[in-house]
Symmetry: C2
Subunit: 380 residues, 2 copies
């Protein structure tokens, strides 16, 4: 195998597939990165027990040549060293050559690296996805869905199913839901027309897979194809192939958690509330999820406060846009509230309370696509 490639393109692909490569794996060859050259370009592959990533560098794109002088072939490189080598090469052009004994030479300018490769035959084949259900969506929108829900997955393995995001397609709507049983994040969007025959309820994607996918995908209005099988999900763009296993088990029915009545409703400036809670949380660092208190006052004033006897206390009042219903005094995790407010893209939010002991809802001011639910904390 032999080819000459542009370093920047190689670096980008290497960084993408590295997200699937772990040095802690029970299958030694998976600590490596597979490099495959064909007449169409160069494909890099990384894989672990949860996800597999393929990144393809075409010989040319938009008239710019990325790969030249290709002699087809494949090899597995030690992934521990390869990214640093590529980053530090002195020239923009990199030549990679493999001899019959899996000796790899990487040349750039006057620098020459000789690496011990491994036979690509020993690298496991990625499962072929026989897509049962498949639909498309703009990359931007997918990144939004991930960002607005994935933070709420559980980090504990007590109920493994809650470490994933539930993806639901039903009645022409796509919904992402995540909950760690103390809070819930959900976003629902209308499906595009081409997906009318798709429908499923119990697809649960590991939160970590979505976090990695979100890092790899660049903001773009191009589309990504999502294909679902019984135990795998494939995300595919023009040059990227991202395969994740799905979680086993039944995702709990979450819609019944949403309270259907409201006793107090406030509308506030998103950033003002966020910063105020951030400050109130400062003195409560000791508790893992520092607890703050929200109290309604007269004249649409809201008070945010916290008290930590050894250090001191914080109080802050600000003006809500509107404040309706019963008086309220409620305590909640500052972290959960900040997580929820940070992913609200609207300037103002609606918060609906049903008493101090019942979960409350945060929604954007002008649409119902996003819903964040938080359970209050009992304070005596």
């Amino acid at each position: 195998m032999k080819f000459t490639i542009q370093r920047d393109q190689l670096m980008e692909s290497v960084q993408d597939v590295m997200k699937a490569i772990s040095s802690r794996t029970t299958i030694p060859i998976l600590t490596g990165m597979k490099v495959e050259a064909t007449e169409h370009g160069v494909k890099l592959t990384g894989s672990n027990s949860d996800i597999s990533i393929e990144s393809f560098i075409p010989i040319e794109q938009n008239g710019i040549v990325y790969v030249e002088n290709i002699q087809p072939g494949s090899i597995v490189l030690q992934a521990k060293y390869f990214p640093d080598i590529v980053r530090k090469l002195p020239q923009q052009t990199v030549e990679l050559e493999v001899d019959d004994h899996a000796n790899v030479s990487v040349r750039s300018g006057s620098a020459e690296f000789h690496l011990n490769g491994q036979d690509a035959e020993e690298y496991p084949l990625l499962p072929q996805v026989q897509a049962e259900q498949s639909f498309e969506l703009p990359i931007d929108l997918l990144k939004g869905l991930i960002r607005q829900t994935v933070f709420a997955v559980s980090t504990s393995e007590t109920r493994p199913i809650l470490t994933g995001v539930n993806m639901i397609v039903e009645n022409g709507e796509l919904q992402f839901v995540a909950t760690d049983s103390h809070r819930l994040a959900s976003r629902k969007i209308p499906m595009q027309e081409n997906a009318n025959n798709v429908s499923f309820q119990n697809v649960v994607i590991p939160g970590k897979s979505l976090t990695e996918l979100n890092k790899i995908l660049a903001d773009s209005q191009e589309t990504i194809e999502i294909s679902v099988t019984e135990n795998q999900i494939l995300f595919r763009t023009q040059h990227l192939y991202f395969l994740s296993r799905l979680l086993d088990g039944n995702y709990p029915e979450t819609s019944r958690l949403i309270p259907d009545q409201t006793k107090t409703m406030i509308q506030v400036d998103t950033k003002e509330l966020l910063h105020s809670i951030d400050r109130a949380a400062l003195l409560a660092k000791e508790n893992r999820n520092s607890v703050v208190k929200l109290t309604t006052r007269t004249n649409n004033q809201i008070e945010i406060s916290s008290n930590s006897p050894e250090v001191g206390k914080v109080e802050e009042e600000f003006q809500a846009e509107s404040l309706e219903g019963e008086d309220l005094k409620i305590s909640f995790s500052a972290k959960y509230m900040m997580d929820a407010l940070k992913v609200m893209d609207t300037e103002k939010v609606n918060i609906q309370f049903t008493g101090a002991m019942r979960p409350f809802l945060i929604r954007p001011m002008d649409n119902d696509e996003i819903l964040q639910l938080i359970l209050p904390v009992r304070t005596y």
Copy 2:
């Protein structure tokens, strides 16, 4: 005590004195920050067993008012929370007020923090420096002296004296020397005229103190005053007072380590050599100080290489500006060599070798102020 202060100035001073405050101290009150208001301004103090820092915010500077409405007094605040509080306050103006029971209120906009303070009477008094020897120097130059030597101090407590930088004033010259016994870094500059009566050989400043001082001092051509007593050193600028203890013991005589003959001398481009060694070191990550080899070739060519049997090898040749004397093959720590080259401010450097087993010297191309010495590594 009461005053109103500009948040940015307060933040800057808080960050400076925080460098002397440790949460691990045997004297509990030293986990706090002393705040003192007088009619001239506000002084913050932090201290640990090695260094003490005072930062002063004057009531006004260059016509800009920093502090107003002062009622003199002092208090000790818990340093764990105060920096975050100041950073996150909503307005540019901050009001700090202390009542008779050491209750502190910090107000900014509608946010109000109530903190438990401690009586400032319990805060230890900083030692008064009776300056025996004192001189001045531009801040820029001091920062250069620190940066070019402090990296070479020992990190091991086997010989505590080597964890410091030896500051020598002699014959109208000021020199900083650091060595960990595997390498040595030195810079010597002519003293300014006002310091003719200053002279000492055995002042050893803890490396950590100098590193912190370097972080606090902003690049500037203003002068800093350095005063030395038997066991302390004081660095003083207009609004900063930085006191460090000195290390006990005799700093070894280092001048006899410098070889006085040369067998091979090369002149090379600093960055070219640095990057080449950086690449060669990549495959040798396993060894703590990855060892690389330098070999002289014909036609002024230098080869940098490394070999790590399990991973592979790297070779790179480049053109020296000049190459004189015996052929040479020498191995050394890539880290030490890179540390030394990084602080060379000249485009080209001279390297003088006295055989493969003897220390070698790196100097800037056109002056003798900076000298870096590195011991080679035996490879069989």
